[in-house]
């Protein structure tokens, strides 16, 4: 039931994904909520064809021209669909490759409206900066551990497969292949951001209260907000540490308990919010890095994405691994 629902949701999300890409109007002044906050409310999407990091072949190229952007978008959309072409191959890797295709992906049909070639804007090479020696060591250990123990138990799997956290919810709120939808509600003294994946709600107090004690750790961290002019600034600490990367399967990002995220939301027009997030984790990265995306307004409500309730995948992954082990043991005899 849940899986069927998810499939329906996916289709709906795709149908409604025509994001309104509007050029930022610098003179545009947002309206205010009843308690005087610049109004960010509504349903938004950060779906984009632009990759997190600048591809190596675009080194040195920070922005596309209009023509280049159009060609890039066309190519990316074709890649989405190429993956859905049935080439007759039936190996496990082929089936996995075709598990998600153009009908599923909800990356929208455009790159970011700044025509940048990556979501990473600082450093200016568009790449996540090198890891510190300690960070590299942790990263390598996590990856070799994952290779050696891909599915000893559920904890070996990425947070997203466990239905605990998807990168969409963040922070930082990073677009995923699908369901990049958010709703923002501003009640007196709070900004609340709900990510459709996986009904993850961040209730952000604006009253300057201190963060939770540092021994308290949460997957989405602990967020505190304040306004700087028309920009909402959210400061998040107290993150849980998990060596399966809290950035999920789509990204190579890696963080530990020292992660500190600073997000900036600026309404730039009736249909757009510019979103910037700076990732600072001094034990992992040699310097902070910043991403920028556009949140585009949608007219559709967001829906329930009940992930854990229909997580048949986890049963399949673990029992498949056990079966393979049994087969291998029988062969060895």
């Amino acid at each position: 039931m849940s899986y069927r629902s998810i499939a329906i949701m996916g289709t709906l999300a795709l149908a409604a994904a025509a994001a309104v890409a509007q050029a930022p109007a610098k003179t545009w002044t947002p309206s205010r909520t009843a308690d005087g906050q610049p109004d960010l409310q509504g349903t938004w999407t950060n779906a984009t064809l632009t990759p997190l990091q600048r591809p190596p072949e675009l080194a040195g190229k920070e922005f596309f021209t209009e023509e280049e952007q159009a060609a890039f978008e066309k190519k990316r959309l074709q890649q989405n669909d190429v993956e859905s072409v049935d080439d007759g191959k039936r190996g496990p890797a082929d089936l996995a490759r075709r598990a998600y295709n153009g009908a599923w992906f909800d990356r929208g049909s455009h790159g970011v409206n700044t025509r940048r070639t990556s979501l990473v804007v600082e450093p200016s090479d568009g790449r996540i900066p090198p890891m510190t020696p300690e960070g590299k060591k942790k990263f390598d250990e996590a990856h070799s551990n994952f290779a050696a123990h891909p599915a000893d138990g559920p904890e070996n799997r990425p947070l997203s497969e466990r239905c605990i956290l998807f990168p969409n919810a963040g922070p930082p709120m990073l677009p995923e292949p699908y369901n990049n939808n958010y709703q923002i509600v501003q009640s007196p003294g709070f900004v609340t951001i709900m990510a459709e994946m996986v009904h993850d709600v961040r209730v952000v107090p604006l009253d300057g209260r201190p963060h939770l004690p540092s021994n308290i750790r949460q997957w989405k961290g602990d967020s505190r907000g304040h306004w700087e002019g028309n920009t909402l600034v959210i400061d998040t600490t107290n993150f849980s540490y998990n060596d399966k990367s809290r950035f999920g399967v789509a990204y190579d990002g890696f963080t530990d308990q020292n992660l500190h995220v600073t997000e900036r939301f600026t309404r730039t027009g009736p249909g757009t919010i510019t979103y910037r997030a700076t990732v600072d984790d001094p034990t992992i990265y040699s310097k902070p890095w910043t991403i920028e995306t556009t949140l585009s307004k949608r007219d559709e409500p967001i829906y329930e994405y009940a992930c854990h309730e229909g997580n048949y995948g986890m049963f399949g992954i673990l029992s498949g691994e056990r079966t393979q082990e049994k087969t291998a043991a029988a062969k060895a005899k």
């Binding site: 009843a34 138990g153 559920p154 904890e155 509600v185 009640s187 996986v198 009940a306 309730e309």
Partner: protein, 237 residues
Amino acid sequence: MPDGKPNLNGIWQTMNTANWDLQTHGPAMAPVVAMGAQAATPPGIGVVEGNEIPYLPAAAKIKEANYAKRLALDPETKCYLPGVPRATYMPYPFQILQSAQSLMIAYEYAGAARNINMGKPKEPPTDSWMGWSNGHWEGDTLVVDVIGLNDSTWFDRAGNFHSDSLHVIERYTPVSADTIQYQATIDDPKTFSRPWKIGMPLYRHLEKNLQLMEFKCVEMTEELLYGHLRKEPRKQQ
């Protein structure tokens, strides 16, 4: 609120034992012996009007079977979304986030959340765990019409259940600065012979700097759900 509507913003919680059993009940032993008094059922006065849940005969038998296997069958054991109205009286706080155009309820348990559509009523595209909520004001009362609920949630730990024909009408009426009277009318012709009602106050949390904590209980259920599929099963406590 500046728009003249009652302000329901705040962190709220019930103060009753409805999540153990909607009807008046005595204490009961914990379903896990090792849990002793910690997980015993606390006795409590029921929240059902007239204390009777009007099950159809076949449904009454299912309820009894549910009760007998309640630890294994209650969706709460697996950290599944609680549905409506159960989300309201789970023993966890929830926060109402109300602005001039939006109304959202965030629940601490399982990170459940609901958007109350305060605009033109809409039909849900499919059934879901938390259902589809269309809200409107009747004087000072927020009335929420909840449809599109699936058949997989329970009302409590005592096995009270429903089908996918469930239709819930909730009424949130502020009765003082720090209390809301909550009422839910439950209609499900496949399960009950007539609609019935539950009612209870919601109390405002007054603690300074209180916040909903992250309670992603999925992690607390992985051993229960997947433990038998581990490479090396954990030693049971």
